[in-house]
């Protein structure tokens, strides 16, 4: 009976971790998308094109990692890079109104 409880605990823990990981990459992807939309709305595609296209390309890679490869860690990593590039684009080309 004690053994069963240990097993159950292990299953619950694993499931929690798995769900947590999946949510982490989804949150990162959503944040990256929001930042890129924000950058686009500011018109930085014209004023800071390199940073903007970097953000766009990283986001595409992140989505590929999540959907095609099932590499959630990679997806999170690239989504974070995308968000960072969007922030740099907005900083560099922020003069555009």
């Amino acid at each position: 009976m004690k053994r069963l409880w240990v097993l159950l605990f292990a299953v619950v823990l694993s499931a929690t971790l798995a769900v947590g990981c999946a949510r982490a990459h989804k949150t990162a992807l959503n944040n990256a998308r929001t930042s890129l939309d924000q950058a686009k709305a500011m018109g930085v595609e014209k004023t800071a094109p390199y940073e903007y296209y970097t953000a766009e390309s990283y986001l595409r890679i992140a989505e590929h990692e999540a959907t095609e490869e099932g590499d959630y860690k990679g997806a999170k990593e690239f989504a974070e890079k995308s968000q960072k590039a969007s922030a740099e684009a907005m900083k560099a080309g922020g003069g555009a109104k």
Binding site: Y50, Y53, T54, S57, Y58, I61, D71, K73, G74, K81
Partner: protein, 242 residues
Amino acid sequence: MRNRNLLLLSLLILAVAFAAGCAKRGMTKSEMDRADEIAAKIAKAEKMGIVKCNPLELAIAKTTLDHAIHEGKESYRGQVEEKKAYFDAAEKAADDLLALVGPCLEKMAPPPKAVPEQIAPPPPAPMPVAPAPVTFENIHFDFDKAFIRNDAKPTLQSVADYMKKNPDAKLQIEGHCDERGTSEYNIALGQRRADSAMNYLTNLGVAGDRVSTITYGEEKPADPGHNEAAWAKNRRGVFVLR
């Protein structure tokens, strides 16, 4: 019996775990070398100012290489083909980028030499297609004649070609004469010469309303001399773009 099955199951799990643990992840030496080569290509293009002309291609090359390195590190060493595909894509992006450097350099004005960190000036605006300050050779006429000589035809052809290529251009043809004969006669002769050149051009396809004529008779000699050599120069048609 039950204990035996449990033992077998445990051994199987251990074997799988051991195999998974032993399978090495990460980049091989040749993959690392390849990544360095691709990075060097991108750095070269970047150093030559590609970011100003082709920011999209630069971003794609850099992020594709980053992706390939990620796959190289995260995949198992046995997944050679999968990793190769990512590095091939990165190399292609870097090669495409390098190919754009030449046209980019042509577009950009040379940066000032004294200040290495200074941002290069923006590429010059394309020149308008309006007629450039083009000049044409004069054509020459025989004494007291207004017909187009054979040696004048190539010049007239080049004038016609220019006019066709520049539909907004307007042309004035000046007719000139040497000093012999009366002023009134030479005014008329100069006009015939200008008209003769204009007719030739219209026959070559230049619209008549784009060409005007004027005669100066003997009033504007090209050569002030009073000999046959000077007169030959003065019996001429001059093309002026307006």
